[in-house]
């Protein structure tokens, strides 16, 4: 696909956040992790999937009118560590950064161990320690079971 075509499909936004280089097929999960649709927001959210890029296919998510917080965005690295985030101000990239995996993950992933106490009706959010970054591996602080790779995206809450 030539450059001209790509521009038409993915129009620039005036202000907001562009989450780029999302692993192919993961855009909806990124939206889910960020909880964008759950929040009371009027922001226009555009999702582009299977977009051509220099390194193959990728997904893109754009959130207009909102500058997402870095801590929120870092959660994405659980399922797509190559993501880059562009903060757009009046059509200009004001800031650009990579996501970084936080030390602990709370409330986003459920424990894959069905007999873990966090999968019962208890007033706690599942919580994990990140024990390995590449590939991502996390350990439940309750039952100590490890979850890695695909299992993480399969267990998003």
């Amino acid at each position: 696909m030539d450059k001209e075509n790509r521009k038409i499909k993915i129009s620039p936004i005036r202000n907001g956040t562009v989450i780029d280089h999302i692993r192919k097929g993961q855009a909806l999960k990124v939206v889910k992790i960020l909880g964008i649709m759950k929040q009371d927001t009027d922001s226009v959210v555009s999702i582009a999937m299977n977009v051509d890029s220099s390194s193959g296919k990728k997904d893109i998510v754009k959130v207009e009118g909102r500058e997402l917080l870095r801590e929120e965005l870092d959660k994405i690295s659980l399922i797509s560590p190559e993501v880059t985030v562009n903060i757009i101000d009046d059509y200009v990239v004001k800031a650009k950064h990579r996501v970084k995996l936080p030390g602990t993950i709370k409330g986003i992933v459920r424990c894959r161990n069905t007999t873990c106490i966090t999968n019962q009706k208890e007033p706690v959010e599942p919580e994990f320690l990140v024990i390995h970054e590449k590939p991502v591996s996390i350990k439940c602080i309750y039952c100590e079971r490890e979850t890695k790779g695909e299992e993480i995206s399969e267990n998003l809450r």
Binding site: N113, T115, C116, I117, E122, P123, C140, Y142, C143
Partner: protein, 310 residues
């Protein structure tokens, strides 16, 4: 050194803390045997919250508390408690910690003890949470090795049975990795010690071997730790019988073992140790179970001491 507020997992312990508990447990032995009286915990109450039955563990904690002059409350059967009405573990623990000074929890779900420790205002001791942790079992195992062999490090320890799924042997292997020595894992194919745990031994520079043949290594061991092989791990009865029979320790297998070799088992046993081993000089499994009392006494005292005046 002892700076724990709760005892949830053996993995949270430094070697120095384990040594402190074991040193303290030695002093508790005459009190545990009833040879010496103590009122150290007079006025203190221990709550046993047993969401699944475990008679030996519960009695052992109750005796430990009572020998030190303390009292116990609790339940051994959740069907008689508010749990049956749908109360969360969090609420049960919050309530119990407002009544008692220390809580002992047994629960069928993994991670239950960690959750309890977050909602309890008093120390929580994990007495087994599902296939998860059972740290006091590991402590009494270590205490037994130390009492019987004079020290924990430097022994050749053989662990036999279902090493893949057994939580007791995983915790023990982790704890032994802090001490050093030589280890041999004796298990049927497919039930060997997971790489995650042998990896820990490698990192600590501890030599280990794996074998399926108990008889070929038994005469080299200082300690033989037997565990049960569960029927449900095998596709059919025939397969199980074949494997189980080779892991059935009987008197005839002890002819060439070291004179001071000891045999341990977390109990209950089924067929893996024949009753004709019980009265040999090597059998220590009943002593091991008895050691649960001084070990738990030490732990209760250390936890309450730390929390005194808070």
């Amino acid at each position: 050194m002892f700076n724990k507020d709760h005892v949830v997992s053996i993995r949270e312990f430094e070697r120095e803390e384990i040594d402190t508990i074991l040193d303290h447990a030695v002093k508790m032995v005459p009190i545990a045997r009833g040879e010496k009286k103590s009122l150290e915990l007079e006025g203190k109450v221990l709550a046993t919250l047993f969401f699944e039955p475990s008679t030996r563990t519960m009695l052992s904690f109750e005796i430990a508390m009572k020998r030190l002059g303390g009292q116990t409350i609790g339940f051994a059967n959740p069907s008689q408690s508010s749990v049956k009405k749908g109360e969360t573990l969090a609420d049960t623990v919050r309530m119990a910690s407002s009544y008692a000074d220390i809580i002992v929890l047994r629960h069928p779900q993994e991670g239950a003890a960690r959750l309890a420790s977050k909602f309890s205002s008093k120390p929580v001791i994990n007495a087994g949470d599902g296939a998860g942790q059972h740290p006091t079992q590991t402590l009494l195992d270590l205490f037994t090795i130390k009492e019987e062999k004079g020290r924990i490090s430097g022994n050749h320890i053989g662990i036999a049975g279902d090493l893949k799924y057994g939580r007791t042997v995983h915790s023990l292997t982790h704890a032994l990795s802090m001490y050093g020595g030589e280890m041999t894992f004796i298990a049927p194919e497919g039930l060997q010690m997971p790489d995650e745990l042998t990896g820990e031994l490698e990192r600590e520079g501890i030599g280990y071997h794996k074998t399926e043949d108990l008889e070929s290594v038994i005469d080299q061991l200082d300690v033989l730790y037997m565990t049960r092989i569960q029927r449900e791990r095998f596709p059919n009865e025939e397969e199980y019988e074949k494997v189980a029979s080779s892991f059935n320790l009987h008197r005839g297998m002890l002819d060439d073992v070291k004179d001071d070799m000891i045999i341990m088992h977390p109990l209950p046993r089924v067929d893996e140790i024949s009753p004709d081993v019980d009265d040999t000089k090597h059998a220590r499994y009943f002593q091991q179970a008895a050691n649960g009392v001084p070990t738990r006494m030490a732990l209760i005292c250390l936890l309450l001491d730390r929390n005194r005046g808070l």
